[in-house]
């Protein structure tokens, strides 16, 4: 089957079995390896992407369900409109706060956090923790991730 998927604002035509995981299409068909696999059963959130703005685990979404829809991955966070990519405020906050250690959870964590920042939610610490509760991190203890998201939210309010 052939499916039309927009990924990070670029339209793709993907020919694949309908039940092929969106995760595999992104990584193998489209070469977007920023989206990671940690468990393959929707527990760890390493493959978090946005599907029409909704936070989903790409390991649980068959490509047929993404047909005609809009996917956003970690590769879509930086601003590439002026040539060389410029990191988003959220990515910069992660870098500066030490929100990434080994980095394997970071793409999914960033995508989940970006969705939170784009929602109207009040960036309290409990709300931030709730927003990333589906994304496991084994390195950081979450402390600096929560800090980074709070900093990015602050900047958003200030902007």
């Amino acid at each position: 089957m052939t499916y039309q998927v927009t990924v990070n604002e670029v339209a793709f035509e993907v020919t694949a079995p309908g039940m092929r995981r969106l995760l595999d299409v992104l990584r193998e068909e489209l070469g977007l390896t920023g989206t990671k696999e940690g468990c393959g059963e929707g527990e760890c959130g390493a493959c978090t992407v946005l599907l029409d703005g909704e936070v989903v685990d790409a390991c649980l979404v068959p490509i047929c369900q993404a047909d005609g829809r809009d996917v956003r991955t970690v590769e879509g966070l930086a601003d590439t409109s002026h040539g060389a990519p410029v990191l988003s405020p959220l990515q910069t906050a992660f870098l500066e706060a030490g929100g990434a250690q080994c980095g394997i959870c970071t793409p999914g964590m960033l995508v989940a956090a970006q969705a939170f920042l784009e929602s109207d939610a009040d960036p309290t610490e409990p709300a931030i923790r709730e927003a990333i509760a589906g994304n496991l991190c084994r390195c950081t203890g979450y402390t600096k991730i929560v800090e980074a998201i709070a900093v990015a939210a602050q900047d958003r309010v200030g902007a």
């Binding site: 940690g38 080994c102 931030i128």
Partner: protein, 617 residues
């Protein structure tokens, strides 16, 4: 089956000093305790993965998720009968290790390499989470028995400790884990009469192996709960009994090691207790416990623990390994660090350029890291045992000093302004720095006496919990951790190590447990083996303390494992403060807490596999 019934012993250790039996007989009180801890999975978020590519010279190049390139190199050479040059191992960006990628990558590398050799094509082998959980090594379950003699004033005068580690079906690293577990088993207390006997035995489960802390979290959990129970018996506060017994400079460890460097046990204890307002909070929780009505179904508690962790390899390990690290000024004027130590999130690739840049007076960005590729970098040893910053860092700082004086001698100018010119005149300059034993540090493998570690790190943690008295569920609300790391190289990375290690310890204390049947793990998926999420994680406050190690020029000691030792006993002490019951087995799961509250038998010890057929257990 129960390791206590095992008939196969992998190794045994006995250490001690003084006259335990005589002094125990004269002690005011003798307190006994038995503690059991279960398995813990490293649960790096990136599963084990390896790519093997046959080389034109008949050799094999293996690239993968791993901690120790030269461990894999050694295994690959042996399995494929290759010489050093034709076996090449490259570390890929590695999504977490925590000890779980110390040993196991050698196996999967060989599997991939054998297949690649057979078909003469590249082979990629990536475990899915279920395979990874089912097959790879876990933290050793342990059974630790204590008898402690204490005087009325709270002085610990005798410790008699017996420790059994469950190695699983094969020996693997168990003897080395046992060494560390044994040496740390008394806790950070200067007790004049000590006997510690220990053994690692075989059982019917997959083999257990390295996990952050390497035996010490198991034995120190037992030591800390034991000390807290001793304090209860004689009516001292948890803080005061530690003050009266902790190591100070000149203290003597069970292997007879005299602690000569700065000992920060007291400082970390006081600073953590002060920052967390331990005594004040404990007074409040104690009052709440005494006045709690029937209708009140949650209970708050605060707990304290203290730990020590030997930095670097145990005993003569470092001397035997003879690691080499190199620093290069290339003909193109590039400063390159050549080490085999890997980045897995803890900061290797940040702190080494930092150390070198500081020594040479150049910018951080002027120093490069060579890739962790065995065809490029020398064997600076594995990335384990909290040794990278201290041991390899020391080698690299020494190499930087030599490079600096060499260049300054040749150019007559400060290194920073002259090294590019020096490189174009003299071509590549390379300094190879090989490990030599630290002055005054000696360990005797035969008698198991002497300096077991070149330095010790010290940590204290204060945890606050809320226990649901109906469900037994524990919410860890906050942890304050004070950790002595020698010298802080990068504060954000150092805090990150403490925060991450603390949360792994909280998971170990509360929810991480593996159930087994017939030697297999039952909860071998991420849906059933749980680790803490952001909602389970406490707020963690880190206090970094600096008591430098004199044996290295930059003073740094290990930090990776230290916080893992202290979190679990602090949480269990907090559960006791909240509820009045001691949980002797980890994890302190709701089932164990409810059983203890109701006075029922606990739901069986952790970490033991049942047998499929009626058998000896």
């Amino acid at each position: 089956f129960d390791p206590l019934r095992s008939e196969t012993q992998f190794s045994a250790v006995e250490i001690g000093r003084g006259d335990v039996d005589a002094v125990m007989a004269g002690a005011a009180h003798v307190v006994e305790g038995e503690y059991r801890v279960g398995h813990q999975e490293q649960l790096y978020i990136e599963n084990q993965a390896m790519i093997a590519v046959p080389r034109e010279d008949g050799g094999m190049t293996v690239t993968g998720s791993l901690q120790c390139p030269y461990y894999v190199h050694k295994a690959l050479k042996r399995a494929l009968a290759l010489d050093s040059g034709r076996a090449v191992v490259i570390q890929a960006e590695t999504g977490g290790g925590f000890g779980g990628k110390e040993e196991y990558p050698s196996l999967i590398a060989i599997h991939a390499a054998l297949l690649a050799r057979r078909v003469n094509r590249p082979v990629r082998m990536i475990y899915d989470r279920h395979e990874d959980l089912a097959a790879t090594t876990k933290r050793h379950p342990a059974i630790i028995r204590h008898r402690t003699g204490v005087m009325r004033d709270g002085r610990l005068v005798a410790q008699d400790i017996d420790l059994v580690l469950d190695g699983g079906a094969y020996s693997t690293l168990s003897p080395v884990v046992l060494s560390r577990a044994t040496i740390h088993a008394g806790g950070p207390y200067d007790v004049p009469n000590v006997r510690i006997t220990s053994r690692a035995v075989a059982t019917n489960t997959p083999p257990n192996g390295a996990f952050r802390g390497f035996g010490a979290p198991q034995s120190e959990f037992a030591a800390e709960v034991q000390v807290a129970r001793v304090a209860d018996v004689i009516g001292l506060s948890p803080l005061e009994i530690r003050r009266r017994n902790l190591y100070r400079v000149g203290g003597v460890t069970p292997t007879g090691q005299v602690l000569r460097d700065a000992v920060a046990a007291e400082e970390v204890l006081e600073r953590a207790a002060e920052a967390a307002e331990f005594e004040r909070v404990r007074e409040r929780t104690g009052h709440e416990r005494k006045t709690r009505g029937e209708g009140q179904r949650t209970a708050r508690g605060v707990g304290l623990a203290l730990a020590w962790h030997g930095a670097g390899f145990t005993g003569s390990g470092e001397e035997k390994m003879g690691s080499m690290a190199s620093l290069e000024l290339t003909a193109e004027g590039i400063i390159r660090v050549l080490i085999a130590n890997t980045e897995m999130g803890q900061g290797t690739k940040t702190i080494f350029p930092q150390l070198v840049a500081d020594e040479l007076g150049v910018g951080f960005d002027d120093v490069e890291m060579a890739p962790q590729d065995t065809s490029i970098v020398p064997d600076s040893g594995p990335t384990v045992a909290s040794r990278t910053a201290m041991v390899v860092g020391g080698l690299v700082v020494n190499a930087a000093r030599k490079l600096k004086s060499l260049v300054e001698e040749r150019t007559g100018l400060p290194f920073a302004v002259s090294y590019r010119q020096d490189a174009s005149t003299w071509g590549t300059t390379r300094i190879d720095e090989r490990f030599t034993p630290y002055p005054g540090i000696h360990f005797d493998d035969e008698t198991y006496t002497g300096d077991a570690y070149p330095a010790f790190g010290w940590a204290a943690a204060v945890a606050e919990v809320t226990v649901d008295l109906d469900t037994g569920e524990v919410a860890v609300r906050s942890v304050v951790s004070a950790d002595d790391v020698g010298r802080v190289i990068h504060p954000i990375l150092a805090e990150g190590q403490v925060e991450g290690g603390t949360l792994q310890a909280v998971g170990y204390a509360t929810i991480e447990e593996i159930k087994l049947h017939d030697g297999r793990y039952l909860n071998d998926r991420l849906a059933t083996y749980l680790i803490p999420t952001s909602l389970d994680a406490p707020r963690i406050e880190t206090i970094l303390v600096e008591a430098p190690f004199a044996g290295v020029p930059h003073g740094a000691k290990g930090i990776g494992e230290l916080p893992m030792d202290v979190g679990a006993p602090a949480v269990v002490a907090a559960i006791h403060d909240a509820t009045g019951v001691w949980i002797h087995d980890l994890p302190a799961s709701p089932e164990r807490i409810l059983a203890a509250l109701d006075g029922h038998a606990p739901p069986g010890p952790p970490g033991i596999s049942t047998l499929a057929e009626p058998g000896p257990s």
